[in-house]
Symmetry: C2
Subunit: 148 residues, 2 copies
């Protein structure tokens, strides 16, 4: 946390922005929960602790955290965004259980290589990508099989 806090402070200073208790609280809350968080989760979590930050401020702070490379936006196919800490957590993709919502993370050199090759072939300059896999996690798969 402390290293990241420093990163954020430095980023804010460089942009002539201010470090406020609301911004600090949002970052702290991201650390507290880890995982893949919705903005709304952060909002209510903060409210419960009386460390309120308005909805607008939560979204604005997430934007800043993304700009400073501390947080990334994740698309889990729910029709709204989730956010996760970058930390030393390198680029990866997500498998989402359509039954219980569980999220598995994965990354694969072969896929990355194949994608690179395909982009070259199409003369497409790749800057980023999202890869969401949907299905049933181990637990839900077993339950489902028994019911049939």
């Amino acid at each position: 946390m402390h290293k990241t806090l420093g990163t954020f402070a430095k980023y804010l200073k460089a942009q002539k922005l201010k470090f406020t208790k609301e911004r600090g609280a949002v970052l702290q809350e991201m650390f507290l929960h880890r995982g893949h968080l919705e903005a709304e989760d952060l909002l209510y979590s903060l409210r419960r602790k009386k460390k309120g930050a308005s909805r607008a401020t939560v979204y604005r702070t997430l934007e800043l955290l993304m700009d400073s490379g501390i947080v990334r936006k994740v698309d889990l196919g729910h029709g709204h965004s989730h956010y996760e800490l970058v930390l030393d957590h390198p680029h990866h993709e997500h498998m989402v259980c359509v039954n219980c919502g569980k999220v598995l993370e994965f990354s694969d050199k072969k896929i990355e290589m194949a994608l690179k090759r395909l982009c070259k072939k199409s003369r497409f300059e790749h800057t980023s990508h999202h890869f969401q896999v949907f299905g049933y996690c181990d637990k839900c798969r077993r339950t489902k099989t028994q019911e049939e």
Copy 2:
């Protein structure tokens, strides 16, 4: 178109649903434009031709077309859905130019195989996936390079 029209008619009959001029018009419009369409595009396109169908009906018809396997929903990372005809157009992924919006389609056996292997390893039962690649198409890449 005619084969697909038959598929749709058959599907509707099997579900005890009715074939209406609005539903016919939406399907016809999908054929007219091909490509990756937004619901809103369909809506205005139909209005211009006085073949009106309300917003609600357009969305409801797209739902039926998906259920009958004629159309699939596409996520191009725009925060709202696009739709495309399935036809004999097999499963594929999309590259989206962040500058001009151009969409390139691709599919890759190696990626499919790697994904299959990863799911097996995680005991995850794969049912579907979305893969969006963002970057610059050939044309925009050239323009961008010259400007720098």
